[in-house]
């Protein structure tokens, strides 16, 4: 015990001595900007006593590259500004200012008084380089790793035959009813997969739901109309619908022209789809995917034609419009759950269960953060900052 006590005392004293010996922030410092692709050096310096004067002009930054004999001015900051970022730029006359990786640049900073000679603030040198790992995104990496592990775990559990309970989602329960209604009425079904491109995850979710809806329309031989906003989405959806008809054993019922491109103009698309609703009077309208200002125009027109409407979007600002004008609305994550819900495939259900458990973990963290904030503001803020991401980080 005594030895441990001595060791702790030595460590504490060592830490104190280190803290005492650490140099203060005097003079100019130059560092390579962390977590970037390189070619950026950040300079900082303490305030000059001259900075308090009314006539003070600011600070001049000078740089010397290897092989150059003299320093050349590269920029100036206003009074009260104690930092400068040196990065590649191009002047209006086409002159290029370069910062190369792996090159040692020397910097000098001068305070510029209203009268008299510039006063040297100090010198510093730095080498710019690109990093191989963005430390600002460690929390994102850990978060993704955790969620992925949970989802993969439940996928394997589902694969091994475990029974997984999934709560009822009214909007998805109504899909069969809506398709049945259209079949009975002898009217088509309209499927709108949002106004975003194929790289949008909500469009991908909308496309996978279309595959399930198309299989059911194929079984009932109900006409399907799929006007597309994006040509890539159109190509993929055409193949998906064709595959659904083949799976349903009705390849002849597939109409090549049922999935078609309209336009990439937002309100041009709305005009075309509204026209289809008014002319063809579909019995059921599906709006799945990413929607913007046009959501209410589409949904209100659909409601006016008397169609049963099922919407699903992850765009929070558009959800109220769909809730108002549609019979059923899949809110946020329910859009992503639809494939699992409709197919009842154990693998899909496993991923859904993984999502739910991850959400449970997030709820626990939120409660923990709230309790910590109530106990101590510092501890609560420290905890909250662990989950912050550097939005401005490179990449």
């Amino acid at each position: 015990m005594k030895k441990i006590g001595v060791l702790l005392a030595v460590l504490a004293l060592g830490g104190f001595a280190f803290a005492e010996a650490a140099p203060g922030p005097a003079g100019v410092t130059a560092i390579d900007l962390p977590n970037d692709a390189g070619k950026t050096i950040v300079l900082s310096w303490p305030a000059s006593p001259l900075d308090k004067e009314k006539t003070f002009q600011g600070y001049e930054i000078q740089r010397r590259a290897p092989g150059e004999t003299a320093f050349a001015p590269i920029g100036q900051t206003a009074p009260g500004e104690f930092g400068f970022t040196d990065q590649p730029s191009e002047a209006e006359d086409g002159t290029k200012h370069l910062v190369e990786n792996g090159v040692k640049y020397e910097y000098r900073v001068f305070a510029l008084p209203g009268k008299g000679e510039p006063v040297a603030m100090g010198e510093a040198a730095a080498v710019a380089k690109g990093q191989w790992y963005n430390t600002d995104r460690t929390n994102v990496l850990l978060g993704i790793a955790f969620v992925t592990s949970v989802i993969v775990f439940f996928i394997f559990r589902a694969k091994s035959g475990a029974k997984l309970f999934v709560r009822k989602i009214a909007g998805l329960e109504a899909v069969d009813e809506a398709i049945g209604r259209a079949t009975e009425m002898g009217k088509p079904i309209l499927y709108v997969s949002g106004l975003s491109d194929a790289s949008d995850i909500s469009t991908i979710a909308a496309m996978t739901i279309l595959a399930k809806v198309a299989k059911k329309t194929a079984e009932y031989e109900t006409p399907l109309i799929v006007p597309c906003f994006d040509p890539i989405v159109m190509m993929v959806e055409k193949e998906m619908v064709k595959e659904a008809y083949m799976e349903a054993g009705k390849p002849d019922a597939f109409d090549e022209d049922s999935v078609f491109f309209v336009t990439q103009s937002q309100f041009g698309y709305v005009a075309a789809v509204d026209g289809i609703m008014v002319r063809e009077k579909p019995a059921t309208n599906f709006y799945m995917g990413a929607f913007f200002a046009e959501s209410l125009i589409l949904a209100e027109t659909g409601a006016a034609t008397g169609a049963i409407q099922i919407a699903g979007t992850d765009r929070v600002t558009q959800l109220p419009f769909f809730i108002t004008a549609c019979d059923y609305t899949l809110m946020g994550e329910e859009l992503y759950a639809a494939t699992a819900y409709l197919s009842r495939d154990p693998l899909f259900l496993g991923s859904l269960k993984g999502q739910d458990w991850s959400k449970g973990a997030i709820m626990i963290l939120l409660i923990l953060g709230t309790i910590l904030l109530l106990i101590s503001t510092d501890a609560g803020l420290y905890f909250a900052n662990l989950f912050k991401t550097a939005a401005e980080s490179a990449g």
Partner: protein, 209 residues
């Protein structure tokens, strides 16, 4: 093979681009920039396919005299006018193409957009009918938020403090609900991406063996 190769490409690119997100190095940025260029190139070719599809659908409608085929003539005329003026006189500020765009397309788009005002009015009327407790709460919250964000609300600020209450509703209950939905969306997006990368979700592959 028609399925295995796209699945392998999807898995490889999914993993590579996920790793790329955590690497700020110049090589990683080069990869990202080139992937984005490829996306643009593919989109341009796809747009051509979209245009051909549009022409095919409407030409068929006209030649087979399907219902409302007259509208297809209007659509085809618009496509032809854009192509002829664009290739014939370029797309400069004063070109016929830009005049078509500025004086026909933009006003038509604005007309469609302006319909939103009427639809919002009719949707609000339906939503805010106080028939249930939830609808009544919604009505009260909506009235406070609407009044709190217009000059009238500020006029009576001293007594009712509507702008402050409006801000509170937006910043706390509303923001909490929005964040709840956004957390779910984030998890759903990760799950969907994972299913596609791991090849569990394959419906995007379409038909064929």
């Amino acid at each position: 093979m028609r399925r295995e190769i796209p699945l392998a490409i999807c898995f490889l690119l999914g993993v590579v681009m996920t790793v790329q997100f955590f690497i700020p190095h110049a090589y990683s940025q080069w990869l990202l920039a080139n992937m984005e260029k490829w996306l643009i190139i593919i989109a341009i070719f796809a747009l051509l396919l979209g245009l051909l599809n549009l022409i095919k659908i409407h030409v068929q409608k006209v030649t087979r005299r399907r219902r409302d085929w007259v509208y297809s003539i209007v659509a085809l005329s618009g496509v032809a006018a854009s192509i002829v003026t664009g290739f014939g006189w370029g797309i400069g500020a004063e070109s016929p193409f830009m005049k078509l765009y500025n004086y026909i397309q933009i006003p038509m788009q604005a007309t469609m957009f302006s319909l939103l005002a009427f639809y919002i009015a009719s949707a609000s009327f339906r939503t805010f009918r106080a028939r249930t407790l939830e609808a009544t709460l919604l009505l009260i919250a909506a009235v406070i938020v609407m009044l709190g964000r217009v000059p009238l609300g500020h006029v009576v600020e001293d007594g009712l403090r509507l702008p402050a209450i409006s801000e509170w509703i937006l910043d706390y209950p509303n923001m909490a609900a929005k964040r709840g939905i956004m957390i779910g969306v984030g998890l759903g997006a990760i799950s969907t991406a994972l299913k596609i990368i791991l090849g569990i979700e394959r419906s995007w592959l379409g038909g064929g063996d």
